[in-house]
């Protein structure tokens, strides 16, 4: 049976660990965007022992690069991008950045899956190519850092009932392995 579960950020470890692959989840609270270029910068900071420009402990990273907001709008279209491109950086961000959730699309590497299990982080997917629909669950948006990266800057988004599906849970169960 498909369950729909509402969760709020910052995430509580016990709640993260209770989610199972295939669960439909509605996220509310604040989430942070980051994609390729921002991941490169964040992991370089971690490797050099430099503090991150944003506290990601118990937070969710959303792999998205939204379109610019039209006048009077909070944000443009904002659907997920392909997660596997972030695979080289993700274990570091889970281990040393303290993130507890990730939203993207598509399957992850064995290294990422191991980090999800070892450090209690859940991998969610949102519907790729449905950026207009997903933008309706975003109630505010502000740039936190890396403005020079344009669409790849890190934004803090406030979300209300943002719809996702648990793709890989903290036990390592994966929707991609049921196929």
């Amino acid at each position: 049976m498909i369950m729909t579960i509402a969760i709020t950020t910052p995430l509580q470890p016990a709640i993260v660990e209770s989610l199972r692959a295939g669960d439909e989840v509605l996220i509310s609270g604040q989430i942070f965007t980051a994609r390729d270029a921002a991941h490169k910068r964040l992991t370089e900071l971690i490797e050099n022992g430099t503090p991150l420009p944003v506290n990601l402990t118990n937070q969710i990273i959303y792999y998205t690069g939204p379109t610019p907001a039209q006048p009077g709008k909070v944000i443009g279209s904002a659907g997920p991008t392909t997660s596997s491109r972030m695979d080289p950086y993700t274990p570091t961000l889970i281990k040393s950045g303290g993130i507890r959730g990730i939203i993207g699309k598509g399957n992850r590497s064995p290294e990422v899956k191991k980090a999800l299990i070892d450090f209690g982080c859940t991998y969610f997917v949102a519907i790729g190519g449905a950026g207009a629909l997903l933008s309706k669950s975003i109630t505010s948006s502000e740039i936190v850092c890396y403005e020079d990266l344009g669409a790849e800057a890190i934004y803090k988004l406030s979300v209300k009932d943002f719809p996702v599906i648990v793709a890989i849970d903290t036990e390592g169960n994966s929707v991609y392995e049921r196929l």
Binding site: G65, Q70, A130, A151
Partner: protein
């Protein structure tokens, strides 16, 4: 006739083999800029009817409840994008253009490719579309901030036609492209296996259900362009050659049996259509290129 008139005639007439004199059709640079501006925005906001209908059909036949629900959300997303004037997807892509240019057309006031790039720049700005192009692929990777340069392919034909089609191509599905330099000993089964393996490996990355463009023949570069061009055919239309049309259907069936499904989360709808384009090739070769389009298979055209 004064001097200016004779200069004008020199530039504005062309002599066909029949000896008849025909006037060149002149299209201003700004007309091209404006047309390109408009189709960039139109393509990103409005899902073409053929794609929408294919999604709607898939939503009725999809066997997985989750897959069905995803397909309905894709349709809802397209409706919302059109009604609220929002990009269908945040990845408004590389602006890929296919241009058909007649030999009887002259662009007044500048180069056609410059006009297309300028139209792209203005369209992506005015339409609040995402700028996704970096200046250098390997070292700098600095965003050009206006989504140029566009990728432009021009076919020269006889006549006074200028038609421009834009295909905003997302990075997620473009990254799943593949090329196999097959040999004459390969056959249609080799192609079916190659396409099926490529689609399985791509999984949810290219945002299935996808449209699969396949280019067979030519050279490596030619096959790749044919594969992309195949994406522009009416979704579900068949190749005019019955043998290729049958192969399209066979591949579609095989791909939809992989179980990848909508968003790679399982189901019976992995592809909406398979389109093959082919070209003559070298005696030693049989290049096969695959270009995949996401379910937001956007394009728009204008004829000037």
């Amino acid at each position: 006739m004064n001097g200016n008139d004779s200069i004008s005639i020199t530039f504005c007439v062309t002599f066909f083999e029949t000896g008849q004199v025909a006037a060149m059709k002149t299209i201003s640079y700004n007309t091209v800029v404006n047309a390109v501006h408009n189709i960039c925005i139109q393509a990103c906001y409005n899902l073409p009817d053929d794609v929408y209908d294919a999604l709607r059909q898939a939503a009725t036949t999809e066997q997985s409840p989750l897959g069905k629900s995803i397909l309905h959300k894709c349709l809802q997303n397209a409706d919302l994008a059109a009604s609220d004037h929002l990009p269908i997807c945040q990845d408004t892509g590389t602006a890929v253009f296919f241009v058909t240019l007649g030999d009887g057309v002259r662009i007044d006031g500048g180069l056609l490719t410059d006009a297309i790039n300028e139209g792209t720049k203005l369209g992506y700005s005015d339409g609040y579309l995402r700028k996704s192009i970096v200046n250098d692929p390997l070292f700098d990777r600095v965003n050009t901030r206006d989504n140029t340069p566009a990728s432009i392919h021009i076919d020269l034909v006889k006549g006074d036609i200028l038609s421009i089609t834009v295909l905003p191509k997302g990075g997620g599905c473009e990254n799943m492209s593949a090329l196999s330099m097959m040999k004459p000993a390969d056959n249609k089964d080799s192609i079916i296996d190659f396409v099926t393996a490529t689609i399985k490996k791509a999984g949810g990355n290219p945002c299935p259900p996808v449209v699969i463009g396949i280019g067979i023949g030519g050279t490596a570069d030619k096959a790749a362009i044919l594969a992309k061009k195949a994406l522009l055919r009416q979704v579900g239309s068949s190749n005019a050659d019955n043998r290729y049309a049958a192969l399209e259907q066979e591949i579609l069936l095989r791909v939809n049996c992989t179980g990848v499904g909508p968003q790679g989360l399982g189901g019976t709808t992995t592809a909406l259509a398979v389109h093959i384009e082919y070209a003559p090739c070298h005696i030693a070769s049989m290049p096969v290129a695959i270009n995949i389009n996401c379910h937001a298979a956007r394009n728009a055209s204008v004829e000037l």
